[in-house]
């Protein structure tokens, strides 16, 4: 790999930065789309469910690569303006992965027990309050592991942007290969780069998952010290004997 000069390394490292940016922006857009479309697909109005369902089917059924090329090259022909490649890529990736994510949101929301919603009705909450205070906080821990998968898919999916000439890792690799004429070392390094990024994402999402589960009283509490102190105590309290009439009667 000695033939790869510092300048060429610089191209690859800049590519890493672009890939990270693409991932973050697309994930942000994708999350917004996932929640909006996912919740719309559980809406009580049929027309809302139909429109959001159509969105999901449309984006699930089209190739992200072709869509990206289409957004960048075909849309300008009809509309007369062109997005910069970076934003065309973010738009395509966000809308596509958001469609996959909407299925995650829909499933997790549907999995919240009906009794939780009924308790919300009994306490007089409006539908929006039930969603915000009861349903989403309980659905969220169920969403994190599949969102982690999607996020990694998205990270690797960003490689598609090299066709638009966005200087991500993959595009950098093509440049470096063209400059050195050597594929094996360049693409080996690039594989490792993607793996490291994906691994870091997974670790971060594990943390998110643990916090989310603690938020609904599953798994350890988010503050390790407090958990160590009160854990065994609480468990003892929860034993049936503590539930005798006690002070109640």
């Amino acid at each position: 790999m000695s033939e790869i000069s510092p300048g060429l390394w610089g191209i690859l490292l800049h590519g890493v930065w672009v890939t990270v940016q693409l991932t973050v922006f697309s994930a942000a857009l994708g999350a917004a789309v996932a929640f909006a479309v996912g919740l719309a697909r559980t809406h009580r109005l049929r027309i809302v469910r139909i429109v959001s369902g159509a969105y999901f089917e449309l984006f699930r059924g089209t190739s992200a690569l072709v869509l990206m090329i289409w957004v960048f090259f075909v849309v300008p022909l009809t509309l007369g303006w062109q997005l910069v490649p970076m934003w065309a890529a973010v738009l395509t990736l966000g809308c596509t992965y958001g469609a996959y994510g909407s299925e995650v949101v829909r499933g997790a929301v549907a999995a919240v027990p009906q009794g939780q919603r009924e308790a919300g009705v009994a306490l007089g909450f409006t539908p929006a309050q039930r969603l915000r205070k009861i349903v989403l906080p309980q659905a969220w821990p169920e969403m994190v592991p599949p969102f982690n998968n999607l996020l990694i898919e998205l990270l690797k999916g960003t490689a598609l942007v090299s066709v638009l000439g966005v200087g991500d890792i993959t595009f950098g690799a093509q440049l470096v290969r063209n400059a050195t004429g050597r594929s094996a070392p360049v693409y080996s390094v690039v594989l490792v780069m993607y793996f490291v990024l994906a691994f870091l994402l997974t670790r971060a999402m594990r943390l998110v998952e643990r916090r989310a589960k603690a938020g609904v009283g599953r798994g350890p509490s988010p503050e390790p010290a407090a958990a160590a102190q009160s854990g065994p105590d609480r468990r003892r309290d929860a034993a049936p004997s503590a539930s005798a009439p006690g002070g109640a009667s």
Partner: protein
Amino acid sequence: MPADTALPNPAGAAPAGGRELIRLDQVTKRFGGTTVLDRLDFTVDPGKHVTLIGPSGSGKTTILRLLMTLTKPDEGTITVDGEQLFPASEKERREARKKIGMVFQQFNLFPNMTVLRNITEAPVTVLGLSRDEAEVRARELLDLVGLADKCDARPTQLSGGQQQRVAIARALAMRPRVLLLDEVTSALDPELVAGVLDLLRDIARSTDITMLCVTHEMNFARDISDQVLMFDAGRVIESGPPEKLFGDPEQERTREFLSAVL
């Protein structure tokens, strides 16, 4: 309504003037082809404790769910404290619903909130209490149900009996005029049932809250009820004070049912 006029003392026995708190008029509810409630009429006076008994599938729980607006009647009107629940707009229903609280068989505490928050959230969000006021009220109620030390616990850290007592406190925090109790001890381990029933006896004795109760605990029903309604196939086939209904039922069907469950 031949079956109803045959009753010596129609449920609630409200005078025609209508000071009754709950009124069901000709309520019919069907699920698919099955008629769960068949042109049901009954009324409950303020402060009364009414227990609904009968075989499963006879429509008892459906009445509670109708009153909580968790399901809609196919026909008929339902009124609570002069406000119509059905037919009514969603907004009117939300107002009327504030007068009604419900405790569920499966507790349905919110696992994403602490015990205290379970109790304070609705008073703050729905009734507009300040968080401080709501917490004072919640702590009083937790004291009443014997769980003052569990404020910061999560529902998952409590036993079933404790969870149900928190659920009762949560319902009472809304200061409802009517409390609906839907088989509240059916999901509990046998040794936890007494604690919850004692608490409810206490509440029945010490408050003027109107209770509508579906239960299989006949001793409890006998203790707290002013009136017991025997349901069968979506109709009230017999009603009366507990001594009469448990001691000397008139209908053969009631006798059969009681001998099977007592």
